[in-house]
């Protein structure tokens, strides 16, 4: 019900808000406001979750901080709006948040008919299944007739139905909105299976399971889930800023620049590094930012590898396909020049 109220409120906001896009660019509006408003997950370990002191932590959160560093030269000029899967697009469409960085899968429908633009991929994910070890299930192909716990309104729900249809199997979904409640149902044995992105399964098993060893993640990955930050249609400059902030994180790792080394490497003779830190060229100015935007991003937030190691590695995540292309992964930034 709360969601409905929020969705209704957001719809109303969409109705009442005069068209601001024409009057002022997003960048100017964000600068005037003094902070970036960023939509994040309500709590997913490793991606966005408040720590014991109420500080938001995770790779999605760090992307928001990186955008703030690029725009303001200050990674703390960001405010977070925790959003459920169902609120997120309305919140972005209605202008409640400037960037949506909330483990959101890039799909054609979302990119087109929802009026959104995906600014790249921060984590290549895929949907998987987790089952209690004592069921003795070894493969997702053995799940015929199973009861599956799933959260509503996500690509997860569609992939799940597709996979069982494609394999001629049946299942019973138990669809519960709040993560807490759906996990309670799974851990109480209401369902045989819990399904979400593998990253979510790993995080949940590490942080929520009474005993992590009692649950196994099945080997099948049934979908492609490229997760990335999203902006709304209508302001290409803001889209570019978010997109190239993400690329700067990847490029920094490829160039060997980290938050600890970038200051001393700033004077390196390597022309790529010179362009990156803004010593030569006008990349920052072309984006409408300070020329040291990428330098600030790396100095204040770190490179992609640092962010991954700080947030995901402790939970048991493997770099896998999220490694740089030079190390056999999919992470590849176009040249910053």
């Amino acid at each position: 019900m709360r969601t409905i109220m929020l969705a209704a409120a957001a719809s109303l906001a969409l109705a009442a808000a005069p068209d601001r896009a024409a009057a002022q660019t997003m960048l100017a509006a964000v600068k005037a406001k003094g902070y970036v408003q960023c939509g994040v997950n309500t709590g997913l370990a490793g991606f966005s979750q408040p720590d014991s002191r109420g500080q938001w932590k995770g790779i999605d959160v760090d992307l928001c901080r990186a955008v703030a560093a690029a725009v303001f030269g200050d990674a703390s000029k960001v405010r977070f709006t925790p959003l459920t899967a169902q609120q997120r697009f309305t919140a972005l469409q209605s202008g409640e948040v400037d960037v949506l960085s909330r483990n959101t899968t890039w799909t054609a429908t979302r990119d087109s008919s929802l009026g959104l633009n995906f600014a790249g991929v921060i984590y290549y994910d895929g949907q998987g299944f987790m089952v209690p070890r004592k069921l003795g299930v070894k493969s997702a192909k053995q799940l015929n007739g199973a009861t599956v716990c799933v959260q509503p309104g996500t690509t997860t729900e569609l992939n799940l139905a597709d996979y069982f249809r494609a394999n001629g199997m049946t299942f019973k979904p138990v669809v519960i909105e709040k993560l807490e409640e759906v996990l309670n149902a799974y851990f109480a044995g209401r369902c045989d299976v819990y399904t979400t992105d593998v990253s979510g399964l790993v995080a949940v098993r590490a942080s929520r399971a009474p005993n992590p060893a009692d649950h196994v993640i099945l080997p099948e990955v049934i979908s492609k889930e490229p997760l990335g930050p999203v902006v709304r249609h209508g302001d290409d400059q803001w889209f570019d800023i978010v997109k190239w902030t993400l690329f700067a994180l990847l490029e920094a790792e490829e160039l060997g620049l980290s938050s600890k080394t970038i200051e001393q490497n700033a004077s390196s003779a390597n022309p790529s590094i010179q362009r990156f830190v803004g010593a030569t060229g006008d990349i920052g100015k072309m984006l409408g930012l300070d020329n040291r935007w990428a330098f600030n991003v790396v100095r204040l937030v770190g490179n992609y590898g640092e962010i991954f190691d700080a947030n995901l590695k402790p939970l048991g995540f493997d770099r896998g396909i999220n490694n740089l292309w030079t190390n056999g992964g999919l992470m590849y930034a176009p040249p910053i020049r």
Binding site: M1, T3, I4, L114, N144, G145, E157, L158, P173, V175
Partner: protein
């Protein structure tokens, strides 16, 4: 405003020879109402046109075309309307609507029965019964419904065992955290004829009751209505059953793979939602019933007992018919509340209308259309219940003197 009424005053004054001025209260009232209506229309127009303009500017698709597309997601409870993931969004929403009706209908009937019993119990002369009923009402109606739903859901899913360790209180009945499984007669054509015979029996029983009342009025002697009606209701289906060869095969639930298959089944989500709605709404209905009974003057009780009616009969024949007039209007509100409260189902995973529409909104991004559908459906259901109850209220109000 001034100009409006001023100009109207000139025209009106000439015609009726009554001097109309801005001081005329009738004219002023008319002008204020016109202004209020204009303001409402303007706000509505502004919201709609601005929404359309903003949707257009952001290139967000709008319209109801999405209803014909394939939904692609599965639904847990499709006992009333067959559905698969290959069906359309429209059909998915119809499944949700059917699930809402299912829980609302069962909830309204059961809450009325439970609420009436508790309300009368609270008036009981037995101290323990009255205090227990009072405690039930005060406890249940002061705890938020959402919390109660979580409580019922947790009771069912946490306390009952997994299918492989099922509890079997009666042969063929299994209690597990996937719900209650129980045997039902395997369907055969004879059952259809039995239903028809039962329907015929209902008509016969109503006619018999009418005849019995006429006879009582004429002769003062009352034929045995209860026994007669019961015979008329039960005998025809029994005869059809025997004539059809007495099919007695049962569909018994059996553990197959992950879960029980066969028989009939109530899911934990439905059970928790129905229990929560019934227990919660019954506490309000109990108070309404109690207030209704107390609104009937005590003299009516005394007069009834002077005629030799026992307390139960006095309650049923004299007091409740008069109390109904006070009970029906507020109880209508409770029925509406129960129906609308069923939308809390999404919290415990029962696929009602709101849950399905929510998913649809997120798959398609058509938030405004989705919410409009939800609002239109609840408005229709609520107005239908109101109309029905108002008709019933008008019927019983005719006896008023």
């Amino acid at each position: 405003m001034r100009r409006r009424s001023g100009s109207a005053g000139v025209g009106g004054g000439a015609a009726s020879r009554v001097r109309l001025s801005t001081g005329d209260p009738r004219l002023r009232a008319l002008a204020y109402q016109a202004a209020a209506l204009a303001a409402v229309i303007f706000v509505g127009w502004y919201l709609i046109s601005n929404t359309l303009a903003n949707l257009e500017a952001r290139r967000i698709a709008s319209g109801l075309g999405f209803l014909g597309r394939e939904a692609g997601f599965a639904i847990g409870e499709t006992s009333l309307v067959p559905y698969s993931a290959a069906d359309t969004y429209l059909r998915a929403i119809v499944v949700g609507l059917a699930n809402t009706f299912r829980v609302a209908l069962i909830g309204i009937v059961a809450a009325t029965v439970l609420g009436t019993l508790v309300g009368l119990a609270r008036l009981s002369r037995n101290w323990l019964v009255a205090k227990l009923a009072a405690g039930y009402v005060e406890f249940v109606r002061n705890v938020p419904l959402l919390v109660q739903l979580f409580f019922w859901y947790a009771v069912i899913t946490e306390n009952l065992p997994v299918p492989r360790e099922a509890v079997e209180p009666l042969p063929g009945v299994f209690l597990v955290n996937r719900g209650i499984f129980f045997p039902v007669p395997a369907w055969s054509a004879v059952h259809g004829w039995m239903l028809a015979a039962f329907a015929g029996g209902v008509f016969a029983a109503v006619a018999y009751a009418w005849w019995a009342r006429r006879r009582q009025a004429r002769t003062g002697r009352r034929p045995p209505v209860l026994a007669g009606a019961a015979a008329l209701l039960l005998l025809p289906p029994a005869i059809v059953w025997l004539a059809g060869g007495a099919p007695a095969r049962l569909s018994v639930p059996e553990l197959a793979g992950f879960n029980f298959a066969g028989g009939a089944h109530l899911s934990p989500e439905f059970a928790a939602l129905a229990a929560g709605l019934i227990v919660y709404t019954a506490s309000f209905i109990a108070e309404i019933v109690r207030a209704g009974v107390l609104s009937v003057h005590h003299g009516q009780f005394e007069a009834a007992s002077a005629l030799g009616l026992r307390r139960g009969l006095a309650l049923r024949l004299v007091v409740l018919p008069q109390a109904l007039r006070a009970i029906v209007p507020p109880i209508t509100s409770q029925y509406l509340n129960l129906t609308k409260n069923s939308s809390l189902a999404v919290a415990i995973g029962y696929p009602d209308l709101v849950s399905i529409a929510n998913t649809t909104i997120n798959q398609t991004g058509q938030a405004i259309e989705g919410i409009a559908i939800i609002m239109a459906v609840y408005l229709t259901i609520s107005l239908a219940i109101s109309a029905l109850m108002n008709w019933y209220n008008a019927r019983i109000a005719l006896t008023e003197r």
